[in-house]
């Protein structure tokens, strides 16, 4: 136990001070900041491009202004509906001049710097006014009539409303990205750390001092700690920035997630499946990392274990849409794949408890088997220099 604590404390400090960890943490923070603030920035930029001058006859101007206020920043109004000059547009620092004429119905002419923009929306917004002018029905009444409410009610479903289902999918998607990033980035850092110790030849000194087992497990424990630390920092940053960004049509909102959108089941299953998935992958990475003689070879060696994870992530995205598809249910029990797919299913549907228990049991057994195999590989691989072993030799080591 003492060996484990010594390795853990030293490795933790070493890794926290290491550039890859600091850069990874920073990239995560910047990414979250972008996810959360980019929509606001884009909206700000977009609103700047819709500064308009509104020109309409006196009886129409105020009513039109009310209808268009949500879509355009109206910087000036005028009752002069004659075509403006470019200088007039420039003088008012506007990007377009919306001119409304009223003769047997409204007619809108837009004089724009960028005619490719969707100016047709102005016509749709003015439709109630157009009808109101042509009939006796009030403009407010017309606006109400034109917005027909649609109420979606779920029957025998996990969620009671479409909004709730959409929010859950967003949360599942967000957590999946976190899960994917944490597992993949940190397990590769474990691999790099192992390879660094081997290529710098310090490994022999280490295994001469203590057993390779606490050495390996100490590394994995440090990586797990740092991954959870990263997650905590990222979520905190998201909350502090008041996350409300968008990605692929889904809301990325850590603040809302912690504020009530995310369930206890999701948090618990996220942590358990993260620990299982990360444990499996990092053990494999450590075992494989001990086989390389040059850090340049890490990329090619890691492909066989990275591919299933990438595949699992894609399957998990499918699982968010169709969580109860038989083959999706089937793959949600596979080690390395299930941490992603089962989590996605738990987030968006009612997974029977026996399936969750079976999934965890399979993954615990898989973790145990991988830990033994990786331990053997690590023990032998760390002292193995020269030509890299072939698959047959690797298998012999694992079986020994």
């Amino acid at each position: 136990m003492n060996d484990f604590i010594v390795v853990y404390s030293t490795e933790l400090m070493r890794r926290i001070r290491s550039r890859p960890f600091q850069i990874g943490l920073l990239i995560g923070i910047v990414s979250i900041a972008l996810f959360t603030k980019l929509p606001d920035l884009l909206r700000g930029a977009a609103s700047h491009t819709t500064d308009v001058v509104l020109a309409a006859p006196a009886g129409v101007l105020d009513r039109a202004k009310t209808l268009l206020a949500n879509d355009y920043a109206i910087v000036a109004t005028t009752t002069d509906t004659s075509p403006p000059s470019a200088a007039a547009l420039k003088a008012r620092k506007a990007t377009a001049w919306i001119s409304i004429a009223n003769a047997n119905g409204l007619k809108v002419t837009v004089y724009a710097k960028d005619p490719s923009k969707n100016w047709g929306i102005a016509g749709r917004r003015l439709a109630p006014l157009n009808v109101a002018l042509a009939t006796d029905v009030s403009q407010a009444r017309l606006a109400t009539l034109m917005a027909v409410p649609v109420d979606v009610r779920a029957l025998d479903a996990h969620f009671s409303s479409a909004a709730q289902a959409d929010a859950a999918e967003g949360i599942a998607f967000t957590l999946l990205i976190f899960l994917y990033m944490l597992i993949l980035i940190n397990s590769q850092l474990v691999m790099s750390s192992v390879a660094e110790e081997k290529t710098s030849r310090i490994a022999e000194l280490l295994v001469a001092s203590i057993s390779p087992v606490p050495l390996l497990y100490g590394k994995i424990a440090v990586a797990t700690t740092l991954a959870l630390l990263q997650l905590a920092i990222w979520v905190t940053v998201g909350i502090l920035l008041g996350a409300n960004g968008m990605h692929s049509g889904r809301t990325i909102d850590p603040g809302a997630m912690l504020g009530g959108g995310v369930t206890v089941t999701e948090i618990v299953s996220f942590l358990i499946l993260f620990l299982l998935g990360f444990g499996q992958l990092s053990m494999l990475m450590a075992g494989l990392g001990s086989l390389v003689n040059r850090t340049e070879d890490l990329g090619s060696v890691s492909i066989p274990v990275v591919m299933p994870v990438v595949f699992a992530f894609i399957l998990a995205i499918v699982a968010i849409q169709v969580p109860d598809l038989p083959w999706i249910v089937g793959v949600s029990f596979l080690p390395l794949v299930s941490p992603f797919v089962m989590f996605a299913r738990i987030a968006v549907t009612d997974v029977p408890i026996w399936q969750i228990v079976l999934c965890v049991a399979i993954n615990v057994v898989a973790l145990w088997a991988i830990a033994i195999a990786a331990g053997k590989l690590y023990r032998v691989g760390m002292l193995l220099y020269g030509r890299a072993p072939n698959l047959k030799q690797v298998w012999q080591v694992i079986r020994s």
């Binding site: 390795v7 030293t10 000194l205 280490l206 001469a208 002292l383 030799q393």
Partner: protein, 299 residues
């Protein structure tokens, strides 16, 4: 005492160590010799428990070497390695902790080793910024910070300038004086000869010779007799010594190989009668000679 008893180690079809046995009494310096690929490093790794022998046993003071015992051992491998970004002081302290030291002992011992090896100016710098020689000194400190009972040093002088080599020589002698049993592997025979009391020469994974230098010399059949001046009269006397063969001559002296049991007093008396002798040496074989001959015979 460390007892290595008929150990064997194979890696697949490759036999790294076939049959090696030796004993290292406590408190001595032991030289482990052999050409590259002889099985020295594998033997050392088995002693340290890094590798498990396929056959045979290794015992320290009568008990099988285990993890707890290994904590009291130290190791300086041939291939040097340090955490490049870790500071010198932290690195030494880390290995102290790995070997069971606790504060304030870690800090005290780390400081002592930094001072002893004259690397104080680098103590707060990352190891990667140090020269090869200073990195070597840091590694020695890492291997010995816990004051090991048993310390294995694989090529400890390689890459060191003479000043630093002398410093390490003094450090190893200090450790020995404090009771540490040392095992040295080196291709620098003169250093081994100066440091070690006992030797074992292995090649192709097997013992070829072992014992004290006197033991090894006793098995050597001849001695070199160097006599000056190397004039004709001297050579005439030497030619009459039973079993003597001419080896070489230079401007001043002449060398003859004679049987080890030659009566050197009688030869000297004969020479004094024949010429004005001003040099007469019966030269014992050096460790280098014994090593080369042993390896040659094995091949």
């Amino acid at each position: 005492m460390l007892t290595v008893d008929h150990i064997r180690k194979e890696f697949g079809s490759v036999r790294a160590v076939g049959d090696v046995s030796f004993e290292i009494p406590t408190g001595i310096t032991f030289g482990l010799l052999g050409p590259n690929g002889a099985g020295k490093t594998t033997t050392m790794r088995m002693i340290l428990g890094i590798l498990t022998p396929d056959a045979g046993t290794i015992a320290w003071n009568g008990k099988k070497v285990d993890g707890t015992m290994r904590r009291r051992f130290g190791y300086l491998p041939e291939e040097r390695g340090l955490y490049g970004k870790m500071k010198v002081r932290e690195q030494i302290a880390f290995f102290g902790r790995l070997h069971g030291l606790v504060e304030p002992e870690i800090s005290q011992r780390t400081a002592r080793w930094i001072e002893r090896l004259e690397i104080g100016q680098y103590a707060e710098r990352p190891c990667s910024e140090l020269s090869k020689g200073n990195q070597q000194k840091v590694q020695v400190a890492c291997a010995a910070v816990h004051h090991p009972e048993f310390l294995i040093l694989d090529e400890p002088f390689s890459g060191l300038d003479p000043v630093n080599a002398d410093m390490l020589l003094a450090v190893f002698n200090d450790l020995k004086a404090q009771g540490t049993t040392l095992v040295l592997s080196s291709h620098q025979m003169w250093q081994l000869e100066a440091l070690c009391e006992r030797f074992c020469i292995i090649t192709a994974g097997e013992n070829r010779a072992s014992g004290t230098l006197a033991d090894l010399r006793s098995a050597w059949a001849t001695r070199v007799l160097r006599v000056a001046p190397g004039v004709e009269a001297v050579r005439a006397v030497l030619d009459r010594v039973p079993g003597a063969t001419f080896v070489a001559t230079d401007q001043d002296s002449v060398d003859y190989a004679v049987p080890a049991n030659t009566d050197f007093s009688a030869v000297l008396r004969s020479l004094v009668g024949a010429a004005d002798i001003h040099r007469f040496d019966a030269i014992e074989p050096s460790l280098h000679d014994i090593y080369i001959k042993t390896i040659g015979e094995a091949a």
